[in-house]
């Protein structure tokens, strides 16, 4: 029974292969295919961020773009950086951004349009910058024609040891033999203190303040007519929830 099934698969696959037809390449390099996929998503979503008007959709496209960038990092062999991008950038910074968008995405501010002249100017500047960068990318010969080096996959341990100040990785090809490779202990400590300062600063900036006069946002809310949309109610409740309300 199994042999009959197997025997029937072969002619079926022949037909299938004939259906698929002459494939332009002999063997597919899956690394390149996946790179194309992730790069297409990242670039398309980045352009969508620029073109979208609705700020919530912009945030969504940004999330997709950065997640695809993390995929690109994984493909380039930087697994630790890729996981870090997913956890901290997408899972932390962008969640914060989306929170901010939710708190301020009320009807007049969801889609603010820019004037046409501004858009034309920005488009020209962007096109010029892109042309310069692409030209630089293709000028350097060794960047264009790689031969895939077969190396062992880099591990996370050298990164950890480097952050402690000890470099245990092989010196990168092309490093002069007498070069002293520094550890990253000092930048690590500086960034830690920096994050602490930012934590305290952001908490201070966002504290609930005792006010004698009402906030501009609450004045604006009370001046809206009796028909209050669901979003206005949500906005006031949500900002009250987060900032503890006015005194």
């Amino acid at each position: 029974m199994m042999s009959i099934m197997l025997a029937s698969i072969v002619p079926m696959s022949g037909m299938l292969a004939a259906l698929v037809g002459p494939w332009p390449v002999a063997a597919v390099n899956w690394h390149s295919v996946l790179f194309l996929l992730f790069a297409a998503v990242a670039c398309a979503c980045a352009v969508a961020v620029v073109l979208a008007d609705n700020v919530v959709r912009m945030a969504f496209y940004l999330v997709l773009s950065l997640a695809a960038t993390a995929g690109l990092f994984f493909l380039a062999g930087a697994e630790f950086v890729g996981a870090m991008q997913l956890m901290i950038y997408v899972g932390g910074t962008l969640v914060l951004l989306v929170f901010g968008v939710m708190l301020t995405a009320q009807s007049p501010f969801v889609a603010i349009k820019t004037s046409t002249s501004d858009r034309v100017l920005a488009g020209l500047v962007g096109a010029a910058l892109l042309a310069v960068l692409l030209q630089a990318a293709f000028r350097v010969e060794p960047w264009r024609r790689p031969a895939m080096a077969a190396v062992a996959a880099p591990a996370a341990t050298p990164i950890g040891m480097a952050l402690l100040g000890v470099r245990v990785d092989e010196p990168a090809a092309g490093t002069p033999p007498a070069a002293v490779r520094s550890g990253y202990l000092l930048p690590f400590e500086i960034v830690s203190v920096h994050l602490l300062v930012v934590l305290v600063g952001a908490a201070y900036l966002a504290r609930a303040k005792r006010r004698r006069t009402p906030r501009a946002i609450d004045v604006a809310a009370s001046s809206v007519g009796p028909v209050v949309t669901a979003r206005e109610a949500v906005r006031s409740s949500a900002s009250a929830l987060v900032s503890g309300g006015q005194r």
């Binding site: 980045a46 940004l62 990092f73 962008l94 962007g126 293709f138 990164i159 960034v191």
Partner: protein, 130 residues
């Protein structure tokens, strides 16, 4: 490959030729980085919503990160080619951390601005205008 016969410029051929079966080089990653960076710059210049400007900043930093990782990758270079090695990955790591810090502060400022002016439109931030 027959693509050379199609008359594409010599610059485009290394980009498109055999993308499905040839390995990807640093230049391809740099193209992605360039597109991300340019979108970020245009976004920063174009958007009137303060959070839109912040998103542009994130895109710019990510474009730079893609470049760093591409230069540091051992897979994208040929044998014995010069590469940043681990330094590129560590720099990318620090960029991610600092971007998180900067986004937190920028958001706190934006929310304060929103509370005080009832708008996130940066064109309305003209109290100090002479």
């Amino acid at each position: 490959m027959s693509l050379l016969a199609t008359g594409l410029s010599p610059v485009a051929v290394p980009l498109f030729a055999g993308l499905l079966d040839a390995p990807v080089g640093v230049a391809h990653y740099l193209v992605v980085g360039a597109i991300l960076f340019t979108s970020g710059v245009v976004c920063m210049a174009l958007k009137r919503n303060a959070l839109g400007v912040l998103m542009g900043i994130e895109l710019v930093l990510n474009g730079a990160n893609v470049n760093f990782v591409a230069f540091s990758s051992p897979y994208l270079r040929g044998e014995g080619a010069a590469s940043l090695g681990l330094d590129g990955q560590l720099i990318a790591l620090f960029v991610i951390l600092l971007a998180a810090a900067e986004a937190a502060v920028a958001l706190a400022i934006t929310l304060n601005f929103y509370n005080n002016h009832a708008t996130v439109d940066i064109d309305r931030a003209d109290d100090l205008k002479g």
